[in-house]
Amino acid sequence: MISIETIKSDIISEFSLFEDWMEKYEYIIELGKSIPLIDPKFKTDDNLINGCQSKVWMHAELKNNNVLFYADSDAIITKGIIAILIRVFSNQNPKNILESDTKFIDEIGLKEHLSPTRANGLVSMIKQIKIYALAFKNKIN
C-alpha cells in the first residue's frame, strides 16, 4: 500500500509539470471524463451531498481494514477533483485518513474549488470522508 503522504507528493510533482492553468484544467477534465468512480446503484439520495452549484454522490465501504471510496459529480471539474481525492484517500487505513489533511489541494493550485463560496459539494465530501473513516475506525476497534 502506498502511503497517503507519498501519493500526495506524487500528485504535487505531477502538477508542477503543467505550464499553465489550461493544461492543469485539461488534465482535471480528462480525469473527470475517464474514470468511472461509482456504481450507479450507489447514486442514491442517501449518498447525495448537495452543493448549491454541483452535486456529489459518495459511497464508502471497508475492505481488509481499508476504506474504499466511490464518488461521482454532475460537474466534470468537480468529478476530476474527486478523482484526485479518491486517489489519495481510498484504500487507506481509517487512522491514516483521519490524520491526513487536504493542504496539497492548495499546493496544486485548486484551492478555489474548496472555497465555501463555490458550494460544489467538495468541502462536504471531505468532511464525509473523515466521518466514514471515523466510523470505520470505531468498527475495527
Binding site: Y25, I29, D74, A75, T78
Partner: protein
C-alpha cells in the same frame, strides 16, 4: 439626451475595480445581478463620513451628530424623490430587500387567518418565498403560485383565475433575478386592487435598470437593496403606503423606534422610526443617496437603452453557439442572459471563465423553483450593467468557446 452620447469609457473611469486584474486578466464583471460595482464618488462618501462627521444620529445635540443626521435624512429625501413616494416617512431603511420583506411578512402574521390566500409568482428569489411560507405556517393562510410560460413570462390568465376575494396579498418581483423577465406589475397591481388585495413588489432586480414611480404604479409595499444600484451592501429600503405601514406592528424593538418607555408600557415612534430600531447603517444610507444621484446623473433612459443594446448583442452572440439553450426569452428583459450548453454543467463553464478573469454566476441563483420549472440544476448567468462593453461581451464569447472546447 440621446443614449448614443453616453460615453461608456468615461463612465468606466468612475469604477476603480474595473481596472484590476483577476488571474492575470483584466476583470470582466458580468455578475451585476448579484451585486453592482461601486463608483468612486460612493466610496468617497463612505470614507468622508468616517473621516469627518462620524456620529450617532437623531439624538446628539452636538454638531457632528447634527451633520450626520442631516446627511442621513437628506439621503432619505433623495430616495423618496427618486422612487416618488408621497411622503418621506414612507421610506424605511433596512439592511436590504430581504429585511424589508420580513418586516411586512411578519407584520401580516397578526392580520391573516386560515381563510386567506397569498399569491406569489413562480419566478421568485427564495427571499420572496421563504418569509411567506413561514407566515403561512404561522397563520394557516394558503400560498398560491402564479405559473410562468416556457418563454419566462407570467401566465396572466392563470393569475386572474387565482385572484379571488380570498386573496389578501400578491407579492412578486418586478424583474426576475434568474432570467431577467420584466413582469407587468402595473397590470397585476390594478387587478389585485380591483378585488382589494395589496401588492408587494420586490424591486431588487429592476431598480438598477428602470426608474420606478411608486405613486404612479400605486404600489402598496416595495423593497430594494442599495448594492444592486451602485451603493454599498447592507442597506436597502422598505416603502409602504403610510396608512398600511401605520397598521403594521414594529418588527424589532429597541432604541430609536420608541416614543416613550416605562417598564409598564412603551409607545412607538411614528414612521419611519417605528421600523428603524437601533443605530442604523449611517454611512450606508448616505452612500445610497449618493449612488442614486450618480445613476440619475447618467440617466435611467441612457442606462436602459445602452443595456438593451448590450443584452441584444450578447443574446445574438450566445445564440450562435452550438448546443446553447437560453432560459427566459421574454421580449421584456433587463440585461440578464441565463443559459446552458448541452452536456456541460454550468459549474464547469463558470470555473473556466473565472480562470480567464470573467465573472459570471452559476448555479440556481437562489431561485430553485425556476430551475425545477426548466428541469435543470442551474444555469450560467451573465448579467450586464451600463459600465460593461460590447468588447467585453466578445471576450466572454471567445472564453465560452474555449471552455466548451475544453469540456466537450
Amino acid at each position: 439626451m440621446n443614449y448614443k452620447s453616453f460615453d461608456v469609457n468615461k463612465v468606466r473611469e468612475d469604477f476603480p475595480i474595473l481596472s484590476r486584474k483577476v488571474n492575470g486578466n483584466k476583470i470582466i464583471y458580468f455578475d451585476n445581478a448579484a451585486t453592482s460595482q461601486t463608483p468612486i464618488k460612493v466610496i468617497d462618501v463612505i470614507s468622508e463620513y468616517y473621516k469627518k462627521y462620524n456620529a450617532n444620529i437623531h439624538r446628539g445635540v452636538h454638531s457632528l451628530s447634527q451633520e450626520a443626521t442631516d446627511a442621513f435624512e437628506n439621503s432619505r429625501k433623495t430616495i423618496k424623490n427618486h422612487f416618488n413616494s408621497k411622503e418621506t416617512c414612507e421610506i424605511i431603511f433596512t439592511s436590504g430587500a430581504t429585511h424589508g420583506i420580513n418586516i411586512v411578512s411578519s407584520g401580516y402574521s397578526k392580520i391573516l387567518n386560515e381563510n386567506d390566500e397569498l399569491l406569489v409568482s413562480e419566478m421568485e428569489h427564495h427571499s420572496n418565498i421563504v418569509p411567506w411560507q413561514m407566515l403561512c405556517q404561522l397563520t394557516g393562510a394558503k400560498l398560491k403560485v402564479i405559473p410562468m410560460s416556457i418563454k419566462g413570462d407570467l401566465e396572466m390568465d392563470e393569475f386572474e383565475k387565482l385572484l379571488t376575494s380570498k386573496s389578501k396579498l400578491v407579492f412578486l418581483n418586478h424583474v426576475s433575478n434568474a432570467i431577467g423577465t420584466i413582469n407587468p406589475i402595473d397590470y397585476i397591481i390594478k387587478k389585485a386592487h380591483s378585488i382589494g388585495a395589496k401588492v408587494l413588489i420586490d424591486g431588487t432586480q429592476a431598480s438598477p435598470h428602470i426608474k420606478t414611480d411608486l405613486q404612479k404604479l400605486d404600489i402598496d409595499y416595495y423593497v430594494t437593496s442599495a448594492h444592486k444600484m451602485c451603493g454599498p451592501t447592507g442597506i436597502g429600503i422598505l416603502y409602504g403606503k403610510k396608512s398600511l405601514l401605520n397598521k403594521l406592528p414594529p418588527y424589532q424593538g429597541g432604541g430609536e423606534m420608541i416614543s416613550d418607555v416605562t417598564f409598564e408600557k412603551t409607545t412607538y415612534a411614528d414612521l419611519p422610526h417605528k421600523f428603524e430600531a437601533g443605530t442604523p447603517n449611517i454611512s450606508g444610507v448616505i452612500a445610497f443617496g449618493t449612488a442614486i444621484n450618480y445613476m440619475n446623473n447618467i440617466g435611467f433612459d441612457n442606462i436602459f437603452n445602452y443595456e438593451k443594446e448590450l443584452l441584444n448583442y450578447a443574446q445574438d452572440q450566445i445564440r450562435k453557439i452550438e448546443g446553447v439553450e437560453i432560459y427566459g426569452d421574454s421580449i421584456n428583459k433587463t440585461p440578464i442572459v441565463s443559459f446552458n450548453i448541452k452536456g456541460i454543467h454550468p459549474y464547469d463553464i463558470g470555473s473556466i471563465l473565472d480562470k480567464m478573469g470573467i465573472a459570471v454566476r452559476t448555479g440556481h441563483h437562489c431561485a430553485q423553483p425556476i430551475m425545477d420549472f426548466y428541469k435543470i440544476p442551474g444555469t450560467v448567468r451573465a448579467s450586464f450593467s451600463f459600465y460593461n462593453t460590447i468588447e467585453e461581451i466578445d471576450l466572454m464569447i471567445k472564453g465560452l468557446k474555449k471552455a466548451i472546447m475544453m469540456l466537450q
